[in-house]
Amino acid sequence: MDAAASPPERSASTAPRIVSARTPLGPRLRNLLERRELLWGLIVSDIRIKYKGSALGLIWSMLSPALTLATYYLVFSVFLKNGIPGFVVYLFAGLVVWTMFQTAVSTSTGVIVDRAGLVKKVSFPREILALSNVGASIFYFVIQFAVLVAFVLLIGHPVTWSWAWLLLIAFVSLALFAAALGIAMSAITVYLRDVRHLMDVLLQLWFWVSPVVYSYSNSLAPSLHRHGLTALYFVNPITPIILTFQRVIYGAPIVTSTTSGLPLHVLPSWSLSTFATMNAVILAVAIVAFLVALVIFGRLEGNFESEL
C-alpha cells in the first residue's frame, strides 16, 4: 500500500504536455525519444512472441534467409551460370540488406490496424508500433550480418575492410528508409486497407529492380546507359545501399568469369570518395524521408480511433 506513497518522483517533467489537433515535428521527436523504453520493450516482446513455441526458436531467423540464399544460389550459379566467382558472398551481401528492408516494411504496414485494440485504448506515440517492427528486423539483420562476416572470414573471402565504415552510414540510411516507409504505410493502411496487399506486390517488384540476385554493372548498366535511364534506376534508394554492401563485402569490382574466363564487371568501379559522397546524399535523403513520414503520420493519426 505504501509503495504508491511517493508521488513526486516523476514530476521532474514540469513542462506541460499538450494534446491538440496537431503536434509539431519537434515535440513528436521528443516524445519518441522519451518513450524509447517502451520501444525497446515492444521490440523485445515482438521477437519473443515470434519464436515462442517453435522448437528452433531464434535459429529460424537465420535458417529462413539461409534457405532463400541457397535457392538463389542454385538458380543463378548452378543452373543459369552467371559466371560470378564467389557468388554466394555477393548474394548474401545484398540479401541481408533486402531482407531487413522488406521485413521491416511489410510487418509495419499493417501494424496499426492489427493492434487496433491497443491504439484505441492506450496513449503513446503511435509511430512506436511501426518502429518496433523496424527494430525487430534490425535485430534479425544484426544476426544475419554476423553470420555473413563469420562466413567470409571462414572461407577467406577478400573483403574491402578499409571501406567498412561506409557500411555504418549505409545501414543507418537503410533503417531510416525502412522506418519512413513503415510509418507512412502503417497510417495510410488505416484508411485504405488494400495498401497492405499492394505493398506485398510492390515489394516483389522492388526486389527485382534492386541489384540483389543479379549484377547491376554486368547485366543492366550498359543498356540503362544507352537509353539514358541510369538516373531512373538510382531513384530506388535501396540500390546504392545494396551496392555499398556488395562493394565492401564482395570486394573486387572486376573479376574473372568462371564460365568464359573473360574479365567480368560485377560492381561499379567507383572510387571510395564516390561511394562516400553517394552514401552521404542517401543519408540526407533518408533523414528527410523519415521526417516527412512523421509529418504524414501526424496528419493521419487524429482519426485513427474512429477509423479502426
Partner: protein
C-alpha cells in the same frame, strides 16, 4: 491550487460515413458516392482541474464523456482546442488493452508499465506491490492468455494504480471485478485522494460521483452544461435526462413536483419520530406512478433508496397531493438530503425528479454515532 488539467475550447468532430468505401477499388469506382456527415461529439469544452481535486464527468450514453476522456488521455486528438496536462497520467480506460496474450503476467507488467510511461527500474520497485494487489502471485509466470477475464482486469488495475500517477483517469472500470475487489479499488482511489493526487472519473452512476468526487462536470450531446458542486451538477444531470423524455417516449412529460412541505412546517425532527411529507404534483394527464425516495447524508453517502413499487399512486390531471409518512425514523444526528422522483409504474420512465427536495435535520441526544441506530439488546 495550480491547474493540472486545463481543457480549453476543445471540440471533436467525427465523420460519419453513410456508405463506407474503405478499399481502393471502391474509392476509385465511387469517388464521390457515399456521403459523409460531420458529427459534433464535443463542442467547446472548457474546464480546469486543480491539483488534488477529484472531478466527475457525468452524462448519459452518447453525451461525449468517453470522447472527452480519450482526448485528455491522448488516445484521440481533438479537432480544435487544446488540453494541457502537468504531471504523469495513467488511464484506466479499458483494462488490459495493452496486454500481449502470449507473454507471461510478469512480462506484461513491465510492458504495460512502459506503455504508461514508466522505466523498467520504476516497475521493478513496485513489482511486488503490483503482484500483491492483483492477488495473482501464483500465476504471474503464466501467459496471460490462460487468465480468466477477472484475473486479466485485476492485473491491469494493479499495474495502473501502483505506478503512482499524478493524474488518474478512470472510466467506469469500477464496475468490474467482484464486490471485494471493487471495494479495494475504491479504497485505492480514496488513498490517492488523501495523497493529493488528481482524479478524473467518468461515470453515469450518480452514487459513485457523490461518494468520491469534489466537483462534477455534466455533458449533454457534446455540450458542457454544468461545472459545479456535485449536488448541483447531479441536479442538472437529472433535469437533462428528463428533458430527453418527450423526445423519446410517447408521453410528454408535463408532470412536475412543484413543492414539498410538511404539516408541522419544519423538517427538524428527533430520532424515532414520524415525519410526513406532502408532495405537490401537477400533471396534465392521468398516470400511475411510483414514488422514488432517496436519502443522502451531507457527505453524499446513500442511506436509503426506495421506489414503493408495491403502492403506485394514481396521478390525476391537475393538482395532486401525495403524502408520505416515515415511521419511527432510525436516523442519527445530522442533516439528510431527500431526493424525490416519480417513475411510471409500467415501464419505469422517470416522469419527474426533484433533487434535494427537502433537507431533514435529525436531533439525537443518545450516545450512538453513525447514520442509523440498530435497536439491540445485550445479554450475558
Amino acid at each position: 491550487m495550480s491547474a493540472v488539467i486545463e481543457v480549453s475550447g476543445v471540440a471533436k468532430q467525427f465523420k460519419i460515413h453513410h456508405e463506407r468505401h474503405q478499399t481502393l477499388k471502391e474509392r476509385i469506382l465511387h469517388p464521390r458516392s457515399g456521403s459523409t456527415e460531420l458529427f459534433d461529439a464535443l463542442v467547446d469544452i472548457n474546464f480546469t482541474v486543480g491539483e488534488g481535486e477529484t472531478v466527475g464527468i457525468v452524462g448519459h450514453n452518447g453525451s461525449g464523456k468517453s470522447t472527452l476522456l480519450k482526448c485528455i488521455c491522448g488516445v484521440l486528438k481533438p479537432s480544435s482546442g487544446q488540453i494541457r496536462l502537468r504531471g504523469s497520467l495513467a488511464a484506466l480506460l479499458e483494462l488490459g488493452a495493452g496486454f500481449q496474450p502470449e507473454l507471461s503476467g510478469r512480462d506484461n507488467v513491465y510492458l504495460y508499465g512502459s506503455m504508461l510511461g514508466l522505466s523498467r527500474r520504476m516497475v521493478e520497485r513496485v513489482f511486488d506491490d503490483i503482484v500483491d494487489f492483483s492477488e495473482l502471485a501464483h500465476f504471474i509466470d503464466t501467459p496471460v492468455k490462460f487468465y480468466s477475464s477477472g484475473m486479466y482486469v485485476r492485473l491491469a488495475f494493479a499495474v495502473a494504480v501502483n505506478v503512482a500517477p499524478e493524474i488518474l483517469v478512470v472510466d467506469e472500470v469500477l464496475a468490474v471485478g467482484d464486490e471485494r475487489f471493487q471495494a479495494k479499488c475504491l479504497d485505492r482511489i480514496r488513498l490517492f485522494q488523501r495523497e493529493g493526487r488528481t482524479i478524473l472519473l467518468v461515470t453515469h452512476q450518480a452514487d459513485t460521483v457523490r461518494a468520491v468526487c469534489d466537483r462534477a462536470i455534466v455533458l449533454d450531446h457534446g455540450i458542457q452544461v454544468a461545472d459545479d458542486t456535485v449536488g448541483e451538477a447531479l441536479r442538472i444531470f437529472r433535469q437533462r435526462l428528463l428533458g430527453d423524455v418527450p423526445a423519446r417516449g410517447a408521453i410528454s412529460s408535463t408532470i412536475q413536483i412543484t413543492g414539498v412541505t410538511t404539516p408541522s412546517g419544519s423538517f427538524d425532527m428527533r430520532r424515532g419520530d414520524n415525519l410526513t411529507f406532502e408532495i405537490d404534483v401537477t400533471s396534465d394527464h392521468a398516470v400511475s406512478a411510483n414514488l422514488v425516495t432517496e436519502v443522502f447524508t451531507r457527505t453524499g453517502l446513500l442511506v436509503s433508496r426506495s421506489d414503493a413499487q408495491a403502492a403506485p399512486v394514481e396521478i390525476r390531471p391537475g393538482e395532486n397531493r401525495i403524502q408520505v409518512e416515515w415511521r419511527s425514523v432510525p436516523l442519527l444526528d445530522g442533516v439528510y438530503e431527500v431526493n424525490l422522483g416519480l417513475v411510471e409504474a409500467s415501464g419505469g420512465t422517470v416522469l419527474a425528479w426533484r433533487e434535494r427536495a427537502a433537507a431533514v435535520q435529525v436531533l439525537y441526544d443518545g450516545r450512538a454515532t453513525g447514520v442509523v441506530e440498530i435497536e439491540s439488546s445485550v445479554t450475558a
